[in-house]
């Protein structure tokens, strides 16, 4: 596809009138991206794909606001920011990512405003999530969604919640904090989000216990290699022989790099961006950074290859790569990548424990 064609596509997203239109565009994007997958380089591929997803989210927010106005709910009473978490936050969404979102809005002036704001943004969250669902973005199973009041609140409530999580080093609070670490403002007031993240990083640097617990969570997923350096394949079931690329390669590396980035107080969310900044900050050598990025690109490419087209024309993925899709050369490449991932995990562990 030419650049012009791509621009037209993005344009058509921002012109779409409803979820059904967005869904049609999304399906054609699927087909285009799948056909481009073999030739295109990984980074530009994800870059363009995430531009599409972002454009979809923005359009849905816009449509939702319009719908609320039509229903007589008016316009947003205060500035707000729509946040993406998870792979959306990291700009690493695949063709089939689900929704992980939240909203933050400026503190209302008084009690009456507070009620009005709460009602308005709750509706806005619900409407946006619904539109995205209809456009083909499934809901987050953990209910991390802007339609959930827990993830849609004013700046001061957000800060209070962050404070609570920092005071309570339970696994759940730590998980939420790690989710927030990957947050990205996709629409609205970037300052609101930046202000919240300043709060986040200010608290983190004074909470060694939280950092210790974050490390435990970060190390939770094991890399897919056994002690003999062989790939750990699924033993049983319909996926027997396949590799869990998502949880055995991609996520461990995302987690390890995130941990280093948090400790270095870097506000970047994409994993490759984090590695670049870690290199600039002198945390990793240029040689290491190059290797890590090369490995992470491989994991991203393999992750994209886990997508399957089903009979009905629908796409699906379970994050697992069937062994028959993996050439011998790629398997070797994956093995050395996973060795690096293992080394990286050990390094993060030593690094973090050394600082505490």
């Amino acid at each position: 596809m030419t650049d012009l064609g791509w621009q037209q596509l993005l344009q058509s997203i921002s012109n779409a009138d409803n979820a059904a239109g967005l869904r049609r565009i999304r399906e054609s994007v699927h087909d285009i991206m799948i056909s481009r997958l073999p030739q295109q380089q990984t980074e530009p591929f994800y870059g363009e794909l995430n531009d599409v997803h972002d454009a979809m989210v923005r359009r849905c927010i816009w449509l939702a606001q319009k719908e609320l106005a039509r229903l007589g709910k008016g316009n947003p009473p205060v500035p707000f920011a729509y946040l993406l978490f998870g792979s959306g936050g990291r700009m690493e969404q695949t063709l089939l990512s689900d929704q992980d979102s939240g909203m933050i809005y400026a503190d209302p002036q008084n009690e009456a405003d507070a009620v009005h704001c709460r009602d308005y943004f709750e509706l806005l969250g619900k409407e946006t999530v619904q539109l995205l669902l209809m456009a083909g973005y499934p809901l987050c199973e953990g209910n991390v969604l802007s339609s959930n009041p827990d993830w849609c609140s004013s700046a001061s409530v957000w800060k209070a919640r962050l404070g609570e999580w920092f005071r309570e080093p339970a696994w759940e609070a730590v998980r939420y904090l790690l989710i927030v670490a990957d947050s990205r403002c996709v629409y609205g007031s970037a300052e609101l989000h930046a202000d919240m993240m300043s709060h986040f990083y200010g608290d983190i640097l004074s909470s060694p216990l939280i950092v210790r617990r974050m490390l435990d969570n970060t190390m939770k997923h094991k890399v897919l290699l056994n002690v003999f350096g062989q790939l750990l394949k699924e033993q049983y079931g319909a996926d027997a022989g396949s590799l869990d690329i998502k949880y055995g390669a991609y996520i461990p590396m995302v987690n390890a790099v995130r941990m280093l980035a948090i400790e270095a107080n870097l506000r970047e969310t994409s994993t490759l961006g984090r590695i670049r900044l870690l290199e600039q900050a002198g945390v990793v050598t240029a040689e290491d950074a190059r290797e890590w990025m090369q490995t992470f690109r491989l994991f991203m490419r393999l992750r994209m290859m886990t997508t399957e087209k089903l009979e009905g024309g629908q796409f699906s993925t379970n994050g697992k790569l069937s062994a028959r899709k993996l050439s011998k050369e790629m398997a070797e490449e994956l093995k050395s990548g996973l060795k690096l991932g293992k080394k990286l995990q050990r390094r993060v562990y030593r690094h973090t424990m050394g600082r505490l």
């Binding site: 094991k222 897919l224 290699l225 056994n226 002690v227 003999f228 062989q230 750990l232 033993q235 049983y236 079931g237 319909a238 996926d239 027997a240 022989g241």
Partner: protein
């Protein structure tokens, strides 16, 4: 007072006249009594291993078959006892036979007590019967969760009369392999390999359980319903194994049975440890099922060699068995053989390894002491014993395999081996017995099936 005592004494003499003439028992009688007591205790321990098999097989299979799997063992042990008494014992140990088959002593009517201070035949029978029943229960591993109850009935008869006692005769009953010097102290081949190969024939002819393999050939994991049962079963079997191995000295003697027990413990320990570690190393997670199989594989392997090897070798034999059982289980799954209780790996692969291990690790000193065969490769530098061991494995294996396939093949043709798909899905508790082992949990599910 004196008068009272005298009356009591007279009364006692009237009641127990023998006391008046009792002599101290001879050293020979005492020796016999001790031996008899030890072998009887061992027979009880080996019989108690059936409790282990009940829990092992039940824990490793699904809830809907629990009552059937557990209860049928009691039935088959009963039937096995009658058949072994009527036929099996005579084929194995009957005095009028030749090198290939024992004959005589059918419907055994033994002397009521010891003859010439030898081990009472009754006790020897009990001990040998318990072994036959263990071999049979091993075979059931291959039949689990899908064979008809009538198959258990018929095959118990055939196995106890025609399969097990023949092998037992060849190696333990003065048969041709015994004359060759084949070493199988307590039955790695006779009991375990025999049971495992019958299980193999059974599972191949029955075909895999519904849902075990997918159309594309990949395997599904059919998890047992109670890992605690399975773990407990391993401990029961482990303890019972002291009767199995140490009891196979069939005498107190100079206390050598203690050494046999000692090696048995080392073998089992090696198997358990190696299996956990290898599963952890290869799969990234330490697998409990593999660990339990490893302990059993260590026991199976050391069974042949427990009286013939040094302690270090017992450890090595156990460690190798633990690793072997892990890879063997993966191998059978790869070739699409459904082995629900891992009988082929635990009793088959480890049984072969244990028998061959004699040819490598047996010492001349212990071979002389037991008075069977010679020292193995490491001690003597000679390949002779290893060759004899290989020969006994191949010959026994071939016999069991061929006869099991033929007999079960005929049964399959005549009566069918497997329950219907509907019965298998509903569970054998319901289809074969009309009642669930876990009624509260399963009543609801069965109503759904009938609806």
């Amino acid at each position: 007072m004196v008068k009272k005592s005298l009356i009591s004494l007279v009364a006692l003499l009237v009641l127990f006249p023998a006391m008046a003439f009792a002599e101290d028992p001879s050293a020979g009688t005492l020796n016999m009594g001790l031996n008899a007591l030890w072998v009887m205790l061992a027979a009880i321990l080996v019989l108690l291993m059936q409790g282990g098999f009940i829990l092992l097989e039940t824990g490793s299979t699904r809830m809907k078959n629990a009552g059937h799997v557990a209860g049928k063992t009691i039935f088959t042990v009963g039937l096995c006892s009658l058949i072994y008494w009527a036929v099996g014992y005579g084929i194995a140990f009957g005095g009028e036979g030749n090198s290939f088959i024992g004959w005589g002593d059918f419907f055994l009517n033994p002397a009521k007590a010891s003859v010439d201070n030898g081990l009472p035949t009754t006790i020897f029978f009990m001990f040998q019967l318990a072994f036959a029943a263990v071999s049979l229960s091993i075979a059931w591993g291959g039949f689990a969760e899908r064979a008809k109850l009538s198959v258990y009935l018929i095959f118990t008869v055939l196995f106890t009369a025609l399969i097990y006692p023949v092998i037992s005769h060849w190696i333990w009953g003065g048969g041709f392999l015994a004359k060759d010097g084949a070493q199988d102290f307590a039955g790695s081949t006779v009991v375990h390999l025999t049971g495992a190969l019958a299980a193999f024939a059974g599972t191949v002819l029955l075909k895999p359980r519904i849902g075990k393999f997918n159309k594309d050939g990949s395997a599904n994991e059919i998890l047992g319903h109670n890992q605690v049962f399975t773990a407990l079963s391993v401990l029961i079997l482990w303890v019972g194994w002291f009767g199995f191995n140490a009891g196979s000295t069939v005498a107190i003697g100079d206390g050598f049975f203690g050494y046999v027990a000692f090696n048995t413990q080392l073998g089992a320990a090696g198997g358990a440890v190696a299996a956990l570690l290898i599963s952890w190393a290869v799969m990234g997670k330490a697998d409990i099922g593999t660990t339990l199989n490893g302990a059993l594989a260590g026991l199976v392997a050391i069974t042949a060699s427990c009286a013939f090897v040094d302690p270090w070798a017992a450890v090595v034999i156990g460690l190798v068995a633990g690793v072997l059982v892990f890879f063997s289980a993966r191998f059978f799954e790869k070739i699409k053989v459904d082995d629900p209780i891992f009988a082929m790996s635990v009793h088959g692969a480890a049984g072969i390894w244990g028998t061959l291990a004699n040819g490598i690790f047996a010492t001349q000193e212990l071979a002389d002491k037991v008075a069977v065969g010679r020292g193995g490769l490491i001690d003597t530098g000679s390949w002779h014993q290893l060759w004899v061991q290989l020969e006994s494995v191949v010959i026994c294996g071939a016999y069991v395999l061929v006869v099991s396939f033929v007999l079960l093949g005929i049964m399959k043709f005549v009566m069918g081996l497997r329950v219907t798909e509907e019965q298998e899905i509903a569970g054998l508790d319901l289809s074969e017995h009309g009642n669930y082992g876990y009624p509260e949990q399963l009543k609801k599910a069965s109503q759904n099936i009938q609806a």
